[in-house]
């Protein structure tokens, strides 16, 4: 029964968290966004005392239920492990804890966090690792499915579905997601919860608490007939059946052993007396680093389209569409971080690079950074869209509060960067046509069109940017007709300001 409840709860949590990364409508997080916010590391980074306290008490009372139910990576491993058990039954055996490895990992993890390299620490952090897998590998599949429905809906003139854009946001992040997935699947397929008990810093921290949990599974030595069925079905390899002891620091309270015991010798009961000290013996266990391949950053600007230059021709024919060259990303001296992230350094320290905001950005602005200091954390670029005034999706979904906004009005008054004009690309000067598309779309009215020649009011008009009013939303950059490089682009600010 306990096992069934655990499985049901885990399935629901896992499905909903996964959907947070897949959703194209942007409505799901309104209802289930809290599932990302109760994740352990995000709660700590968000300094969410209530949730951290809740998780600590939960673990002290019931053991590492968190790892079996709330953590999506944990449940994902259980699914893989369950599939593996279909092929080979009773495949686990007891092994002693690799304490030096797990505590070593924890120390490294904390050191990285303190050094402000949250995104590197996040490589081994379970929630964001799962986020990267879901957003990089599952989301495209889900979106293709969605687009298929959208195509069908279009045929029958229905507006029930609309298509979503699918594009490769960052190759290194994709490769890391693939590497993480492969390592996790291999570990889970062979040894169940190896990752959770040797690498995962959250598992290690919770393990420190779950040693002393009130409720825990206990083997009734009177009833036990020594069949070892429990140990052979323990994916955490923490039941020493010979000695009738369980290593509670590694037990994820999955209740599998309780269900497996034919003698009903294992009970999930409150502690009545001191726990037996588990025997320490050195057993060989697999250890794997999650250091995926880190390739040099490849900027992905899409396919190069040939430019159609309209020469004065003998006859102007009707119809046809001009070829549109893809925009390229300008070289920004300072990367742009989302409004609500306060500053580059604050953001680097608080973001777990879980990709939830990137997966949910409806304007294709956010993508994982390729910079080593902010690796895989979101940064902004405007060649596909711009940060629209009616949207604060990234702040709404952010579980760590690394991006925090209270209202749209607040967002529209945060200066995340400022626009810079590039004379060489500006079409009134290059093509001799009237333009002003940047000024027309500036939400704060920071751009005015002025005559390029102060003495000649009828000379071509060029944008004059009042950087005091500019918020760096990128409307001007995105809608600038100059291609592949815009004649106006946004430089980020290291520290955001309120205007």
């Amino acid at each position: 029964m306990l096992r069934k409840i655990r499985i049901a709860a885990a399935t629901i949590c896992f499905a909903l968290i996964t959907l947070l990364f897949l959703d194209v409508t942007g409505t799901l997080h309104l209802w289930f966004g809290w599932l990302a916010k109760i994740q352990f590391l995000p709660a700590i980074l968000a300094l969410n005392v209530g949730i951290v306290a809740f998780l600590v008490i939960l673990t002290l009372l019931f053991g590492r239920i968190y790892c079996s139910v709330i953590c999506p990576l944990g449940v994902f491993q259980d699914i893989v492990s369950w599939l593996a058990s279909k092929r080979k039954r009773n495949r686990f055996r007891y092994s002693a804890a690799l304490s030096w490895l797990r505590y070593g990992m924890l120390v490294v993890f904390v050191a990285l966090l303190l050094a402000g390299l949250a995104s590197w620490a996040a490589l081994i952090e379970p929630y964001s690792a799962y986020g990267r897998i879901a957003s990089n590998l599952f989301a495209p599949v889900y979106r293709w499915g969605n687009n298929l429905f959208a195509a069908i809906a279009e045929h029958v003139d229905s507006y029930a579905f609309y298509s979503a854009e699918i594009w490769l946001k960052s190759l290194p992040t994709l490769l890391i997601a693939i590497a993480t997935l492969v390592i996790i699947v291999v570990l889970a397929w062979r040894n169940g919860r190896t990752y959770c008990n040797t690498i995962c810093p959250v598992g290690t921290v919770l393990g420190l608490l779950s040693r002393f949990s009130l409720f825990r599974p206990v083997i009734d030595t009177d009833k036990c007939n020594g069949c070892q069925s429990c140990a052979r079905n323990c994916k955490a390899s923490c039941i020493d059946a010979k000695n009738h002891t369980i290593d509670y620091s590694r037990c994820v309270t999955c209740m599998d052993c309780i269900g497996k015991c034919t003698q009903h010798a294992i009970h999930y009961v409150p502690r009545t007396r001191a726990v037996h000290k588990p025997n320490q013996s050195l057993t060989e266990a697999k250890k794997e680093g999650t250091t995926g391949s880190r390739r040099t950053f490849l900027s992905l600007t899409g396919l190069l389209a040939t430019t159609a230059i309209l020469h004065a021709q003998e006859k102007k024919v009707d119809g046809g569409l001009a070829v549109i060259e893809d925009k390229k990303i300008p070289k920004r001296a300072t990367p742009i971080t989302p409004p609500g992230s306060l500053s580059a350094s604050h953001f680097a320290q608080h973001c777990t690079a879980c990709q939830l905001c990137i997966a949910n950005c409806p304007n294709q602005v956010l993508r994982p950074s390729g910079n080593l200091m902010t690796f895989m954390q979101p940064e902004m670029s405007y060649e596909r869209g711009y940060c629209r005034p009616e949207c604060a999706k990234c702040a709404e979904v952010c579980p760590t509060d690394a991006i925090h906004l209270t209202s749209l009005a607040e967002k529209s008054s945060i200066q995340i960067g400022h626009a810079v004009w590039v004379k060489a690309n500006c079409v009134p000067l290059t093509d001799g046509v009237e333009c002003g598309n940047c000024a027309r779309h500036c939400p704060t009215g920071a751009i005015q069109m002025v005559a390029s020649d102060a003495d000649n009011p009828s000379s071509p008009k060029i944008p004059a940017i009042n950087i005091e009013r500019c918020i760096g939303c990128g409307a001007c950059e995105n809608l600038c007709p100059a291609r592949p490089f815009s004649a106006i682009y946004v430089e980020g600010h290291k520290k955001h300001r309120i205007i």
């Binding site: 279009e154 507006y159 609309y162 298509s163 159609a308 309209l310 004065a312 021709q313 003998e314 006859k315 102007k316 024919v317 009707d318 119809g319 046809g320 569409l321 001009a322 070829v323 549109i324 629209r388 005034p389 009616e390 079409v427 093509d431 046509v433 009237e434 333009c435 002003g436 598309n437 027309r440 779309h441 809608l479 007709p481």
Partner: protein, 460 residues
């Protein structure tokens, strides 16, 4: 065992019943057919010998009332996938069907369908004897007015059309750019004299002009009839433009009356306003269908244009076989409008004026936009939303949510994001090309603002 046996019997019984039913229905169904043949289909065969013809008073050309406009030819993606090209197989099929049902007038231009229309028309018509059809083409010297370029364009039409004479030759789109442009294109460079010589030599059988523009230009060009002798004039005529011409265009009532006065045959373009008189607001569609439930909405527009005796032919750019069939049905033969019908259409036109659609006929003269916009695509989507009632007048409207969703999702479907109105920089290079004198950048910015209001859910 007992059970199993029983089951088998059951199945056999079932099959027996099924077989019996099949036999019974096989005998009943043909019986039905004999009794009520007409109930099986609403579409009747289109007669091949009932086309209405009009006679050109000048040379007794017998011209079919339905003329084929070769401006909206069917397209398919090019083999390399970069652009669309003419689907010649489909063109041949359409032309074959049209000729088989009596159509004999084909209207093209060197600039139509990205410059491919004349060649495609030639390929389709080459398979018929030259005296079985009339070809109309135009001097479309819009961007380069020089005498050399204009004559080169004229001669190139003979090459592309693979003909040694042209039945109907038009000065293309007079009125665009005003009288100065007309003079520059045809008078000052001596082209009009050149064309008169060509007519004398028999290479042009009929010389005329097509007109979009203001009354003064029309009057001045028509006054040249004394010296030039226009064999025909092509005008925009339909039940909306009859008395409610949009922009700077002249009411068709005036244009037609002026031609009648001089006994000049009229050739009608835009009888359907590029589909705007077929794809109408739901209220209007219901009204038209109610009056004649078995006729299409488009047939009203064709009957209107065809009912004027001075009309030689009514051009329609038929992209699809169904359009061609519908129009053939309307004119085989023509059922002229009654005075009552005409009054009804005038009321309909007045009703139509209440829906603020943009008068774009999807002629694509404005294209390609150098900044990549799909101008007709944007305008057509806007009109579609008006016609389908998905145009919230205010954010307080009852159907605001539904209309907003339909507008925004439909917008992304009809027009790729990079070709939408927010990319219009207002360079205005499109405006001189628009025969309906739409201020395109202004409309683009208006639509863009509307889209922004919807996206930001601003109150309006």
């Amino acid at each position: 065992m007992e059970n199993k046996h029983k089951k088998n019997i059951d199945r056999r019984d079932f099959l027996k019943v099924l077989g019996g039913t099949a036999v019974a229905s096989a005998t009943i169904l043909p019986g039905c057919k004999e009794r009520k043949d007409s109930a099986y289909t609403a579409t009747t065969e289109i007669p091949t010998d009932q086309m209405t013809y009009r006679t050109n008073p000048g040379n007794n050309d017998r011209v079919s009332l339905l003329g084929y406009g070769m401006m909206r030819l069917p397209l398919i993606p090019s083999p390399d996938g970069t652009h669309d090209t003419i689907d010649q197989e489909a063109v041949n099929e359409l032309v074959d069907y049209a000729i088989a049902h009596g159509v004999n007038y084909f209207d093209t231009s060197p600039v139509y369908v990205q410059g491919g229309s004349e060649k495609s028309t030639a390929i389709a018509l080459k398979r018929y004897p030259r005296d079985k059809y009339f070809i109309a083409t135009k001097l479309s010297n819009f961007s380069n007015f020089t005498r050399e370029n204009s004559i080169a364009m004229y001669r190139q039409s003979f090459v592309d059309l693979q003909v040694d004479y042209i039945d109907y030759y038009l000065l293309h789109s007079i009125g665009n750019g005003g009288i100065e442009t007309f003079r520059a294109r045809y008078i000052d460079n001596g082209i009009i004299d050149f064309l008169l010589e060509e007519r004398k030599a028999g290479r042009i059988r009929n010389l005329g002009f097509s007109f979009h523009g203001t009354q003064d230009v029309f009057d001045e060009v028509l006054a040249m009839h004394e010296t030039v002798h226009w064999d025909f004039v092509q005008i925009q005529l339909n039940y909306v433009d009859w008395r409610h011409a949009s922009g700077r265009n002249v009411n068709a009532e005036y244009l037609y009356a002026e031609l009648e006065k001089r006994h000049i045959p009229a050739i009608i373009m835009e009888p359907l306003l590029g589909g705007r008189l077929s794809n109408v607001h739901d209220h209007i569609a219901a009204k038209l269908k109610q009056r004649k439930p078995e006729s299409s909405v488009a047939s009203w527009a064709f009957r209107f244009a065809g009912s004027f005796p001075g009309v030689l032919t009514v051009l329609s750019g038929m992209t699809y076989m169904e359009h061609l069939q519908d129009n053939l049905r309307t004119y085989s033969p023509l059922d002229p409008l009654t005075p009552d019908d005409r009054e009804f259409l005038e009321e309909t036109a007045q009703l139509m004026m209440r829906y603020p659609t943009i008068p774009c006929n999807d002629c694509k003269y404005c294209m390609p936009c150098p900044y990549g916009l799909d101008i007709p695509g944007i305008l057509l989507h806007f009109n579609k939303c008006i016609n389908e009632g998905n145009m919230p007048a205010s954010s307080q409207d009852e159907n605001y949510r539904k209309a907003r969703r339909a507008f925004l999702i439909g917008y992304d479907r009809s027009v790729p994001k990079l070709r939408q109105a927010n990319h219009c920089i207002g360079c205005g290079q499109c405006n001189p090309h628009c025969p309906q004198s739409i201020d395109i950048p202004k409309e683009m910015q208006r639509i863009d603002k509307f889209v922004e209001d919807l996206k930001q859910e601003k109150e309006f």
